[in-house]
């Protein structure tokens, strides 16, 4: 058996995706050879294309939150049909455009997925880890510049930029392999956006991978780009 380091993290073959149904349906990828790409561990991918072309829909499809009409996704060479939806979504994790912050403290929010969902508890057990302790939570808060926030503070009272960072580290604590970041810096001030962006980069450098859509930072992506062209095909530009 080959080790994970030589296998691509995610391969997407001949994806066919559409948004909407019936008359108003819009074809986003048409399912031919030009709808194929490979995602490698350690890489930061920038998903580009004109607005309304289906960037979000593609990310949702990769997380299996939007239906795939045809094509194959593989996680470490295992077909998506052979991996349960729950497990898939914990490995290939969507960071939604608008952070979803629950009623409760910052600590409640950070531990929410690990506390609530069966699959997350199972993965903790597989990794032989326990719930992150206070030091870990504080270290993570520091890593995105949320230094002076007490863990007991009510999370819904945080600013938009603070909530975006909270949502990011909440996701990082679930230890995904690939983060699909859908405009994670939208509506967030420049300083907070930089902190989010840098933390995502750090995640790539420590064995993760990121696909991100964003209006900002296009100039700073040196690694790779997935371009959706609006003609139902895409192009992977690997610098």
């Amino acid at each position: 058996m080959m080790s994970n380091t030589v296998l691509p993290l995610l391969t997407a073959e001949s994806l066919k995706i559409q948004r909407g149904e019936g008359q108003s349906a819009k074809l986003i990828l048409k399912g031919d050879a030009k709808c194929t790409f490979i995602i490698e561990t350690g890489q930061f991918y920038y998903l580009t294309g004109p607005s309304g072309v289906g960037k979000s829909t593609l990310l949702w499809t990769l997380a299996r939150l939007h239906p795939l009409i045809a094509g194959i996704l593989r996680l470490h060479d295992i077909r998506h049909t052979e991996i349960t939806v729950a497990r898939w979504r914990t490995e290939i994790a969507l960071l939604p455009q608008r952070p979803v912050i629950m009623q409760g403290t910052i600590a409640d929010n950070l531990l929410y997925p690990l506390h609530t969902f069966h699959i997350q508890k199972e993965r903790l057990k597989e990794r032989q880890e326990s719930l992150p302790n206070v030091e870990t939570l504080e270290r993570e808060l520091h890593s995105v510049g949320l230094n002076d926030l007490p863990l007991e503070r009510e999370a819904t009272s945080l600013s938009g930029g603070q909530q975006a960072r909270l949502a990011l580290i909440r996701l990082l604590l679930t230890k995904p392999k690939l983060i699909l970041a859908d405009e994670p810096t939208a509506g967030v001030d420049k300083i907070a956006a930089d902190l989010v962006f840098n933390r995502l980069h750090q995640f790539c450098e420590t064995g993760g991978a990121v696909i991100m859509t964003s209006h900002m930072y296009a100039d700073r992506i040196k690694n790779a780009q997935i371009q959706l062209d609006g003609q139902g095909t895409l192009q992977l530009i690997d610098n």
């Binding site: 939150l65 939007h66 239906p67 729950a86 914990t90 969507l94 939604p96 979803v100 699959i119």
Partner: protein, 259 residues
């Protein structure tokens, strides 16, 4: 035990309309625009209840298992339909899951009361099965309507949170649980309130009926306790089962929120 209530003559019955006509006059005077609906509702009350009287007379006379079961089945079909009609925003294909909830709850509660508590002979004695069944189904209807209305309302409000839960690998059940709790609570609260208030604020309808028919007040109270608990049980079971069957309709087989 019962001596029977004093019969009301047809003329005297029409006299009762006088009071509702007074309400109609107020509606006109204050231009509430309620006269038409008031008139229709009054007419329906007359027609539906008199029709019910005739139907019950017929059922009580025929006294066969199949008629009793047939009528009970018809009542259950109506219960499912009417309770769903009262839920405004809902996913399609809810009828059969709701009907199943009505069936399970309606049959269990009605026949537990007639068979185990009141112990009627024969078991299908229409005087008991149809009237107790009617009360049970009525409360199931309220419970289901309130619970489902609240469930899908809460789903709409929590859409982003539901998708986030699924994105974390949560199952439809895990994503729905906060809404399911809210929905079942909403279905139960009116019942709990009326259980607390019963006998203090008002004498409940069934007990009044028995008192008018000349029953011993303690006897009537015992019946009312049975009815009260049975109605609560029916509401609780009905809302729980219907919500349990219904929440899944908001998801597809790949655990995507499609409502």
């Amino acid at each position: 035990m019962m001596t029977g209530a004093i019969d009301i003559g047809w003329l005297e019955l029409l006299l009762a309309t006088f009071f509702i006509m007074a309400a109609g006059a107020v509606s006109i005077a204050m231009s509430l625009g309620l006269l038409q609906s008031l008139a229709i509702a009054t007419l329906r009350t007359y027609l539906q209840l008199i029709a019910l009287g005739f139907v019950l007379t017929w059922i009580f006379q025929i006294y066969t298992v199949w008629i009793v079961l047939g009528v009970f089945l018809f009542m259950m079909l109506m219960t499912a339909q009417i309770s769903l009609k009262r839920v405004k925003h809902k996913p399609p294909n809810l009828y059969f899951s709701t009907l199943s909830a009505v069936f399970i709850t309606g049959i269990i509660v009605t026949f537990s009361v007639t068979g185990l508590i009141v112990q009627v002979e024969p078991w299908y004695e229409p005087r008991y099965v149809i009237s107790i069944g009617g009360m049970v189904l009525g409360s199931i209807m309220n419970g289901i309507a309130l619970a489902l209305e609240r469930l899908f309302d809460d789903f709409k409000k929590r859409a982003a949170e539901m998708n986030q839960a699924l994105a974390f690998g949560g199952s439809p059940w895990e994503a729905s649980l906060p809404s399911i709790r809210t929905a079942i609570t909403a279905g139960l609260i009116p019942t709990i309130n009326s259980m607390n208030a019963v006998g203090l604020v008002m004498i409940p309808g069934m007990m009044t009926g028995q008192l008018l028919a000349g029953a011993d007040p303690i006897q009537a109270a015992k019946y009312q306790i049975v009815v009260m608990l049975m109605v609560s049980a029916a509401t609780a079971l009905g809302s729980m089962i219907s919500v349990y069957f219904a929440y899944k309709r908001a998801f597809d087989s790949e655990w995507r929120f499609i409502f």
